[in-house]
């Protein structure tokens, strides 16, 4: 009896292993970071770009408006690519755009904004890149859509036309 079951059992196990590996072959091997969007706006002290004033992040995101937090830098090429989208979004009165200037110098950042326009209502100066870590960011550019002190959507990489439409839908 036992000898009869054993070949079936081995066959069955091999079938399961085959299915698992076959499914695995179809998976992409490019790692895309998990977008953790369930957390709230971190409460940390930050330095403002224009005034050098040190304030808490909760003071910036204090109303029930929609906020788009954008991490950018003058040395980042994809940031230039997404800048027109930010400029378009800055015309929307229901959305406030907050920038985090990541590992940059004030001079280069100011030149960047002079050349391409300033879509930001407020800019946080993060020359060491530690503020971006508080937000769970991986690098530049990255954007977070925030409402009622909660991150509702995270965009890793430059904003696209698709993300622009999505943000507009959220604000509506």
């Amino acid at each position: 009896m036992k000898n009869k079951i054993l070949p079936f059992l081995i066959f069955f196990i091999f079938i399961i292993i085959f299915i698992v590996f076959y499914k695995g072959l179809q998976n992409t091997n490019i790692y895309t970071p998990e977008s953790k969007t369930s957390f709230e706006v971190p409460s940390v002290s930050v330095k403002l770009f224009n005034s050098d004033e040190i304030i808490n992040t909760l003071e910036i995101f204090n109303s029930d408006k929609f906020y788009l937090l954008n991490i950018w830098s003058s040395w980042c090429v994809p940031c230039k690519q997404e800048h027109p989208i930010l400029m378009e979004l800055s015309q929307n009165n229901d959305l406030e755009i907050i920038g985090i200037n990541y590992k940059d110098t004030k001079k280069n950042a100011n030149d960047f904004l002079k050349d391409l326009g300033n879509p930001y209502d407020n800019i946080i100066f993060d020359n060491k890149g530690t503020n971006a870590i508080e937000w769970g960011a991986y690098g530049v550019p990255e954007s977070f859509l925030i409402n009622n002190n909660k991150i509702i959507k995270k965009y890793i990489g430059p904003l696209s036309k698709g993300s622009l439409e999505e943000i507009k839908l959220f604000i509506k």
Partner: protein
């Protein structure tokens, strides 16, 4: 003068640097257990990317704030999920990962023990038949 000499002797003999060195050892230990999420197969300690360098500064700051090793791991876990830790903590998402080797060990042990018992029984029966 004597007091000054005594002070200098204490200053040079007592290894004040050890206080800083302990923090450095802890920082290295923590950064070796943090995965550089934008690199391929590198820890934060090994990597020189912008992301890893920022993380090293944050680890340094957290140690200076007086956070323990586990508190620092929990902090990064809350920001980036379990994937950032090479050695994930025991929780509802990882219990299977932690318990599977133990389970395999016990099941394997039970099978070997069973076989051993059967073999002994057989040899006992053979002995009795003789």
């Amino acid at each position: 003068m004597k007091i000054l000499k005594l002070f200098l002797v204490i200053f040079f003999i007592f290894p004040f640097n050890n206080l800083k060195a302990d923090n450095e050892v802890l920082k290295n230990k923590i950064t070796k257990n943090l995965r550089c999420l934008i690199c391929q197969g590198q820890s934060v300690y090994d990597s020189d990317s912008e992301f890893a360098n920022s993380l090293k500064i944050v680890v340094d700051n957290k140690i200076n704030e007086g956070l323990s090793e586990n508190q620092i791991y929990s902090y990064f876990q809350s920001k980036y999920g379990d994937w950032i830790l090479y050695d994930p903590m025991f929780n509802k998402n990882t219990y299977f990962l932690w318990l599977l080797p133990l389970l395999i060990f016990f099941v394997g042990g039970a099978i070997i023990f069973n076989k051993f018992l059967k073999k002994q029984k057989k040899s006992d029966i053979n002995k009795n038949e003789r």
